[in-house]
C-alpha cells in the first residue's frame, strides 16, 4: 500500500475538491473543482500502481468537463452573471493551475525514490491486455457495445434534420410576422 503522506495529500485534496465542486455557487468554479478532484483521485490510483486507469480517468474527466463547461457557459450565459472581482478570479485560476502542478511534482518526486512511498512492482499493460481479451472478453464486448450504442444514439439525436427544418419553418419570426401582415389583405380581397 501507499505511504501515509501520499494518502493524506491526495485524499485531502480529493475530498475538499469534491465538497467544493458540489457546494460551489458558480458552474465554472464547480467544474474546475471537479477536474481537481479527478486529478487527486488519479494521483491516488498512480500511488496504487494503476497508472493506466489513472490516465484514462483523468483524460475522460478533463475532456468531459471541459466540453460541459463550454456548453454550460453557452446555455446559462455565464458572462451576464459575473460578480467576482478580477483579483479573486485571478487567485482562483492560479490555484487551479498551481494545485495540479504541485500534485504532479509531488508524484514525480516520490516515484523515483519509492522507499515505502509507492507500492512495489510496476503495473503491467501486457497483463491487463491479456486479461481483457481472455477472461473479460464478454465484458469488453458489452462495454464496447454500450459505448457504440451511445455514440450512435448521440449522433442520431444530433443529426435529426427533419425536426430542425420543421422547427425553422414554424418558428421563424420573420416568416411569422409576414404571415400576420398578409392575412388581413387576403381577407379583404376575398
Amino acid at each position: 500500500m501507499i505511504s501515509a503522506v501520499d494518502f493524506a495529500v491526495f485524499v485531502t485534496v480529493a475530498l475538499f475538491s469534491a465538497v467544493a465542486s458540489v457546494s460551489a455557487r458558480k458552474t465554472l468554479y464547480a467544474v474546475l473543482w471537479q477536474v481537481q478532484t479527478a486529478a487527486a483521485v488519479s494521483g491516488l490510483m498512480v500511488c496504487l500502481n494503476a497508472r493506466f486507469i489513472a490516465f484514462a480517468l483523468l483524460s475522460t474527466a478533463v475532456s468531459v468537463f471541459l466540453t460541459f463547461l463550454t456548453f454550460a457557459l453557452i446555455i446559462f450565459d455565464a458572462s451576464k452573471r459575473e460578480g467576482d472581482s478580477e483579483k479573486g478570479k485571478g487567485a482562483f485560476f492560479a490555484a487551479m493551475v498551481v494545485l495540479p502542478a504541485a500534485e504532479c511534482a509531488w508524484l514525480f518526486s516520490r516515484l523515483p525514490s519509492g522507499e515505502g512511498a509507492l507500492a512495489s512492482g510496476d503495473f503491467s499493460f501486457a497483463a491487463l491486455g491479456m486479461l481483457l481479451y481472455s477472461h473479460y472478453a464478454v465484458c469488453l464486448i458489452a462495454a464496447a457495445l454500450v459505448l457504440t450504442g451511445t455514440m450512435v444514439g448521440v449522433t442520431t439525436l444530433m443529426m435529426n434534420k427533419k425536426d430542425d427544418a420543421r422547427a425553422h419553418v414554424l418558428s421563424d419570426p420573420v416568416e411569422g410576422k409576414t404571415e400576420l401582415r398578409r392575412l388581413p389583405v387576403e381577407r379583404r380581397s376575398l
Binding site: 501520499d6 458540489v22 486507469i53 444514439g153 448521440v154
Partner: protein
C-alpha cells in the same frame, strides 16, 4: 506508518457519499447532478483499484476501466440531452418572439 486498505476504502466511501449528498442537495441543477454521479463512479473505481492492489489481481483494474467507460458514455448522453434542451428552449423563445 503505512496506509491500510480500510483507509483507502473509507476515502472511496466518503467520495461516494459526497456524490450522493450532491445529488440529493442539488437536484435542480443538472450539471451538479452529473458531477455528483461522476464522484460516485470515481469512488467505485477507487475501491476496485484498492481491491486489485490488495489482492494482487488485475481484475479490479479491469472493472475500474469499465466504470470509467460507463462514465464517459453517461457524460456523452447527458451532453446530448443538454444540447436538445438548449435547442428546444431557443425554439420556444423564437416562437414567443414571433407571436
Amino acid at each position: 506508518m503505512t496506509v491500510e486498505p480500510a483507509h483507502m476504502m473509507l476515502a472511496a466511501f466518503l467520495l461516494a457519499s459526497i456524490g450522493v449528498w450532491g445529488i440529493l442537495c442539488r437536484r435542480s441543477d443538472p450539471m451538479r447532478c452529473l458531477a455528483s454521479v461522476q464522484l460516485i463512479f470515481w469512488g467505485a473505481a477507487l475501491n476496485f483499484v484498492t481491491g486489485a492492489s490488495l489482492f494482487g489481481d488485475v481484475s479490479g483494474t479491469v472493472f475500474a476501466l469499465f466504470a470509467v467507460c460507463v462514465t464517459a458514455a453517461q457524460a456523452a448522453t447527458a451532453l446530448t440531452l443538454f444540447y436538445l434542451y438548449y435547442k428546444k428552449r431557443s425554439e420556444v423563445s423564437r416562437k414567443d418572439d414571433a407571436l
